[in-house]
């Protein structure tokens, strides 16, 4: 150390050099990591629905009292069935919204009549996220049919722990970190269904409008992986 009078002894000089080198090294490490291919984006935890087996780990292992994971309905994939295997348990008494007929333990799924066509009644099922506890019962049920219900981490609730407790417990390693700017993941079937629906809607919209022109065509041609994700978030 310096002896306090402006003179520096050998020890002080060596430690001073080591200090400067250390600071430069740490700064270098930080900037090397920060500037690495310009990819330092912030990330959030998300579930890959195709890997998810809808066990109840999301319900029980989140550090929050009520899990940050919620059930999401992909309407484009939903069959709007009257006998919904995600809504009704296998031994229901009646096809109504009575609590005893619901699979969901918290009654978080809302069943709403939409239309009757050719003798078939169609119902829309929406998730009330404030009630959902991510037990995955409806997801398992729905997989018997279309599999339009899936679990997603709600990044506005998620604490973004450095090591997600659910990810540790997840039996299929379905948790991954995704960019915070594009935080939702869709399963393959849901992705295809949403794309098909978007195409159909675009076709209807362009046929309705006389002068859609090249603009619509260009959007159509944008079939890369970025296209559907942006469309989803719009």
């Amino acid at each position: 150390m310096a002896d306090g009078k402006g003179n520096i002894d050998r020890r002080g000089f060596v430690s001073g050099c080591a200090r400067v080198l250390g600071a430069i090294g740490l700064g270098g490490l930080a900037s090397a990591l920060a500037l690495r291919k310009g990819r330092t984006v912030d990330e959030v935890w998300q579930i890959q629905p195709d890997h998810c087996i809808a066990c109840d780990k999301c319900q029980t292992h989140c550090v929050l009292d009520v899990s940050a994971v919620k059930c999401v309905q992909c309407f484009a994939l939903c069959g709007y069935c009257d006998v919904c295997t995600g809504y009704f348990p296998t031994k229901y008494d009646a096809l109504d919204t009575g609590a005893e007929n619901q699979l969901c333990p918290t009654g978080a799924i809302t069943r709403k009549f939409v239309e009757q066509k050719a003798g078939t009644r169609y119902f829309e099922y929406t998730i009330d996220e404030s009630l959902c506890i991510a037990c995955g019962k409806c997801v398992t049920g729905c997989r018997l049919m279309n599999g339009s219900l899936y679990l997603q981490v709600r990044y506005d609730r998620c604490l973004n722990c450095n090591e997600c407790s659910i990810a540790v417990a997840c039996p299929t390693q379905a948790f991954r970190r995704v960019p915070a700017s594009r935080p939702n993941l869709l399963g393959r079937a849901a992705h295809e269904a949403e794309e098909a629906l978007a195409r159909k809607q675009a076709a209807v919209a362009s046929s309705g409008r006389p002068c859609a022109g090249w603009h619509a065509l260009r959007n159509e041609g944008r079939g890369g992986p970025d296209g559907p994700a942006e469309a989803r978030q719009a």
Binding site: R19, I53, L64, A76, G79, N146, D156, P183
Partner: protein, 446 residues
């Protein structure tokens, strides 16, 4: 009712058959007056990074303030209050994530995994206290780290740990650091986060094992000052090394030490080193011989560590979830275990051949085994350096804090008559050796 159930049964069978043979889905109907809605997701606006950067700013401000309190103002009360604020903000409000201790793993994974994207906030969070320690000593530990703060509050009756035990237990932190780096580098786990003793307290939610661990650490912390910081914290291990180089560091007497020995007992962390005396020639020679032996022993310890570490492949690899799954699948296929697990069931349903899983697990296991060798070498290096460190003869003229162990809590300030004279609590001191008569005005601090 029966018909409905029969119908449902039929539908289930049909659906199961569909799932097996072809993914023919029930088509989404086209309604006349009802558009198909899209799923609603929360807004992905960048409020998360902002929150993280706010934490980084808080840590930076905290370190600056703690350094000012510890080095310039020399106030234990200021440091204590800052620790309480840090505990409330970074601990209980922000739930302790992301912290520099855990950031060790993010940095490691980023260095070893090209596809892992490390958040910029984590990089800054990791580097900031390290650089600050190079200049001001471990002021981050004093009053910014929420884990340190909770233990600072818990230390009500700290006893002195015997020096030999203190040195021995202190090595645990380096072993833990090595293990944490190994598991992070191989993508097995973030063990520092998984076994963080106090984060469950901040979140008020943890598994039973971690709650017990947390409680045990708190109870130990009442009698042994900062047990996590001293004997486990991997970041503290790095900070300790850097603190040896620190430009300015906490001094016990503000001016010259009068060797009154009042501070000696004040440190609950065993960080105060007494002045040295020149030993007789015989002892000097023995010391030199001990140093030579330690220097020769260093490469031997590294080699032995590497060989022993290499043998730890099976237990170390068992932490990786893929290796665990492969092990389970293999045991099931041989009929060596009863029943299946959710993971093995899911793997079988995925249709992937188990051979590819086994191959993947074998590659992983091999890599982890190699890393185990490095871990063993690291542990050998740490033990060897400790021996050398203990064998080197030091020259100290007054009572000084050991920069590696001192967490700048500021307890010793009030015990120093020099400090009391500086504050004008007592009359000026006689030059040397008479300090014992000056009783501190306040024996108890905050």
């Amino acid at each position: 009712m029966r018909t409905f159930q029969a119908l449902l049964g039929l539908v289930l069978v049909a659906a199961a058959a569909q799932a097996v043979f072809a993914a023919a889905l029930i088509p989404t109907p086209e309604f006349t007056g009802h558009p198909i809605p899209t799923a609603e997701h929360p807004d992905p606006v960048a409020r998360l990074p902002l929150r993280d950067w706010l934490d980084v700013a808080a840590v930076a401000a905290g370190i600056a303030l703690a350094s000012y309190f510890a080095l310039r103002r020399r106030t234990r009360r200021g440091l204590f209050l800052l620790a309480v604020v840090s505990l409330a903000w970074l601990g209980f409000w922000r739930k302790g994530c992301i912290c520099p201790i855990g950031a060790i793993q993010n940095i490691t994974l980023a260095l070893f995994d090209r596809f892992y994207v490390v958040p910029a906030a984590a990089v800054v969070m990791f580097v900031l206290p390290l650089v600050a320690t190079l200049f001001f000593g471990r002021t981050f530990c004093a009053a910014v780290c929420p884990l340190g703060a909770v233990q600072e509050l818990a230390a009500v009756r700290p006893i002195r740990v015997p020096v030999w035990l203190d040195h021995a237990l202190g090595l645990l932190a380096y072993v833990y650091l090595g293990a944490a780096v190994l598991f992070a580098a191989t993508g097995s786990a973030f063990v520092i986060c998984r076994y963080d003793p106090f984060v469950g307290l901040f979140r008020l939610s943890a598994g039973l094992d971690m709650l017990v661990f947390s409680g045990v650490m708190l109870v130990i912390g009442m009698f042994v000052g900062r047990p996590y910081c001293r004997y486990l914290c991997p970041y503290g291990a790095i900070l300790g090394w850097l603190a040896h180089l620190s430009r300015r560091h906490v001094r016990i007497p503000p001016e010259e030490c009068i060797q009154c020995r009042l501070c000696e007992e004040s440190c609950p962390y065993g960080a105060i080193r007494e002045p040295t005396v020149t030993p007789p020639a015989g002892k000097l020679r023995r010391g030199r011989r001990r140093l030579t032996v330690a220097l020769i022993l260093l490469p031997v310890l590294i080699a032995v560590g590497a060989i022993l570490g290499r043998r730890l492949e099976a237990p170390l690899a068992g932490v990786h979830p893929t290796v665990q799954l492969a092990e389970q699948m293999w045991l099931e296929s041989r009929g060596l275990v009863e029943g299946t697990t959710e993971a093995s069931e899911a793997f079988r349903n995925s249709g992937r051949p188990p051979e590819s899983l086994y191959a993947e697990a074998r590659t992983l296991s091999h890599r982890i085994g190699l890393a185990g060798g490095w871990l063993g070498a690291w542990v050998g290096l740490v033990f060897g350096l400790k021996l050398i460190h203990l064998a080197i003869r030091r020259r100290r003229t007054g009572y000084q804090p050991d920069p590696a162990r001192c967490v700048a809590c500021g307890r010793c300030f009030w015990y120093c008559p020099g400090e009391q004279a500086r504050r004008g609590w007592i009359e000026g001191l006689a030059p040397k050796g008479t300090g014992r008569t000056n009783e501190p005005r306040r024996a108890e601090d905050v």
